[in-house]
């Protein structure tokens, strides 16, 4: 009996429960517990992914009850890839957090690590579930732990996180009421069962309203323009290991949930058209506006936050267009962006942690002070702009092809424009890093970042290159099996 589907969620959960006890023995046991949690989840995700790639979709009935009476966990290639992505980034973030947490009391470390493990639990729970209400529950688990973790960055973070809390709860309530409408019309909460029963309800305005609510709710969580207001402040003031993980993963998981609902619950193409149209136009604006606003920032982390808004626009664009080519681009970009943004945020936060600087002008001469970190930053930045052979080029290529194929020329123009803008604001930073002389400050610490922080950054940069070089394999082996047939 294969229990890996449920273990993907249970390993981080049980670890999170044990970490407060481990912390009583000292902070390093708590950190070890966190590493175990994330590594365990990664292992189970990889096993489940391999099993699902060999042919059958894994379906796990929790409690022994068959769906739709019980809750079902579904591992198909797509959820397997997402689960592996989330846990892989979690392992790296757990590693990265070591130096950051070293000054904290054992009790605070324990609480932090426990909440981090619960965040991973929540995200994995969203990724593997096959039940709409179960998704809401795990969405809330990940949200509440994220609120707490993101607020540990100081007083500005607290205000930003309070706003995020309000908006996030509104988003979850929108999602829930959308599910309620769907439940009223079909009588079930299981995704596969609902997919079977929806065609009978035909064109009811209730379904359109329900899908609109769900799209709005998940779009808020995914920071799609114009619902992105919570993101810049929250990302700018958040502490290092948290933001490296959250920025890379949380919005993507919401985008994945949206994709699941639009293409699996509504068997591809039968859903209402209007929300998708709205989504498409919002994403186009997001792509351009995100890049424009990133250009105007002086704070590097804020610049990356606005860049994330633009990138989420790409993913949503792919989902909105809906053709297999577009979906391939969107899903590939989910993986690529998680890797690239994770690397960027971790690098920038490392600089901030080591040297206390966060503005572009203060990055002058970093190329000599922190050569490895900045090399990784450069690779990730080139990938974000979209230069071959890095990963970013290929996902944009697929999206551009899809836009061309479907005749949506404004989308294509937006893609090209935002890539050019991206080149401008990233090269601005790179120019300061490599070509400017250092500021005449007392050199506080000229050495490179400590190994636990450096290793994840370098790993992600290398991965960005590898995903680009081997993108054919990635697309055919991992992404395309996950598309709706």
């Amino acid at each position: 009996m294969d229990h890996t589907p449920i273990l993907i969620v249970l390993v981080p959960l049980t670890s999170a429960l044990l970490i407060p006890f481990l912390a009583m023995g000292g902070g390093r046991f708590a950190r070890a517990g966190l590493l175990f949690a994330t590594a365990g989840s990664l292992l189970c995700s990889i096993l489940a992914l391999r099993a699902s790639l060999e042919g059958e979709v894994l379906s796990y009935h929790v409690g022994g009850w068959p769906p739709p009476w019980g809750i079902e966990i579904v591992i198909d290639p797509l959820s397997g890839v997402m689960a592996t992505l989330v846990s892989f980034l979690a392992v790296l973030a757990a590693f990265y957090s070591g130096p950051y947490l070293s000054g904290w009391t054992a009790r605070r470390t324990g609480t932090f690590c426990s909440l981090f493990a619960l965040l991973v639990t929540g995200l994995q729970g969203i990724v593997v579930t096959g039940d709409l209400f179960n998704l809401y529950v795990f969405l809330e688990i990940s949200s509440i732990s994220a609120y707490a973790l993101l607020s540990s960055g100081g007083s500005k973070a607290i205000v930003a996180v309070f706003r995020y809390l309000l908006i996030g709860t509104v988003a979850a309530s929108f999602y829930l009421i959308g599910v309620g409408y769907l439940y009223a019309m079909t009588g079930t909460l299981n995704m596969a069962d609902m997919a079977a029963r929806l065609p009978e309800t035909s064109d009811s305005p209730v379904i359109v309203v329900a899908v609109s609510f769900i799209v709005i709710g998940l779009a808020i969580k995914a920071a799609l323009f114009p619902l992105h207001g919570w993101l810049p402040d929250t990302y700018t003031y958040a502490p290092g290991p948290v933001i490296g993980f959250v920025a890379a993963v949380m919005t993507k998981v919401s985008a994945y949930a949206l994709y699941r609902i639009l293409f699996y619950v509504f068997v591809a193409g039968t859903g209402p058209r209007e929300p998708l149209l709205l989504l498409g136009w919002a994403s186009v604006i997001a792509v351009v506006a995100g890049s424009l606003m990133a250009l105007a920032q002086k704070d590097v982390q804020r610049m990356l936050a606005y860049s994330s808004i633009g990138q989420m626009g790409y993913i949503m664009l792919g989902i909105a267009i809906g053709t297999p080519l577009a979906l391939t681009g969107a899903l590939l970009h989910v993986v690529n962006h998680a890797v690239m943004k994770g690397c960027l945020f971790m690098a920038v936060n490392g600089v901030q942690w080591r040297l206390g600087v966060f503005r572009v002008c203060d990055f002058a001469g970093m190329g000599r002070r922190l050569p490895l970190t900045m090399a990784a930053f450069t690779v990730a930045a080139l990938s974000m702009i979209g230069l071959p052979p890095t990963a970013g080029f290929f996902s944009k290529y697929y999206l551009a092809l899809a836009a061309l194929e479907s005749g949506y020329f404004p989308f294509l123009a937006a893609l090209i424009l935002s890539s050019l803008l991206g080149a401008v604001y990233f090269f601005r930073v790179l120019e300061k890093v490599y070509l400017s002389p250092e500021n005449d400050e007392e050199t506080r610490d000229t050495s490179e970042l400590p190994f636990p922080m450096l290793a994840p950054i370098l790993t992600l940069a290398v991965l960005a290159l590898l995903l680009g070089l081997f993108n054919q394999t990635v697309v055919t082996e991992l992404i395309q099996p996950g598309l709706p047939s």
């Binding site: 209400f133 529950v137 809330e140 509440i144 609120y147 707490a148 607020s151 007083s155 500005k156 607290i158 205000v159 996180v161 309070f162 809390l165 309000l166 709860t169 509104v170 979850a172 309530s173 829930l176 009421i177 309620g180 439940y183 009223a184």
Partner: protein, 122 residues
């Protein structure tokens, strides 16, 4: 009132409550009022689910003493109630965390009004 109109009025009330909560979050500058509006929003969703489960001439979902074979027609649908237990718990938890954040904000800045906060954050 016939059942259709009554049903329509009920759904409209739930929707109105939802929109009132949403308006409160967006339009009120004081953070505690925003929190209260958030609670109203969540209650609206809870109310909506619960009214879905009702059946005419049915009793609450506990098997009556001596009823050997319960028939679905005679009992209210238990599923929305279960789901809303979860939603209420989530609502309470979120309110708890929000209050903790508010206490931190108040200690640090001395005010809970959004416009004043924006001034102090500059």
């Amino acid at each position: 009132m016939e059942a259709e109109t009554l049903s329509f009025v009920n759904y409209c009330l739930a929707a109105s409550l939802f929109l009132i909560g949403l308006y409160g979050i967006l339009a009120r500058p004081h953070l505690v009022r925003k929190l209260m509006a958030m609670n109203i929003l969540q209650v609206a969703v809870i109310v909506f689910f619960i009214i879905l489960g009702y059946k005419s001439d049915a009793t609450p979902p506990i098997v009556r003493h001596g009823d050997e074979t319960p028939i679905a027609r005679n009992y209210i649908n238990p599923l929305p109630h279960t789901l809303m237990l979860t939603a209420i718990v989530v609502s309470v938890s979120t309110t708890g965390v929000a209050l903790a954040l508010l206490i931190r904000i108040h200690r640090r800045f001395g005010t809970l009004d959004e416009s004043e906060l924006m001034e102090k954050l500059k």
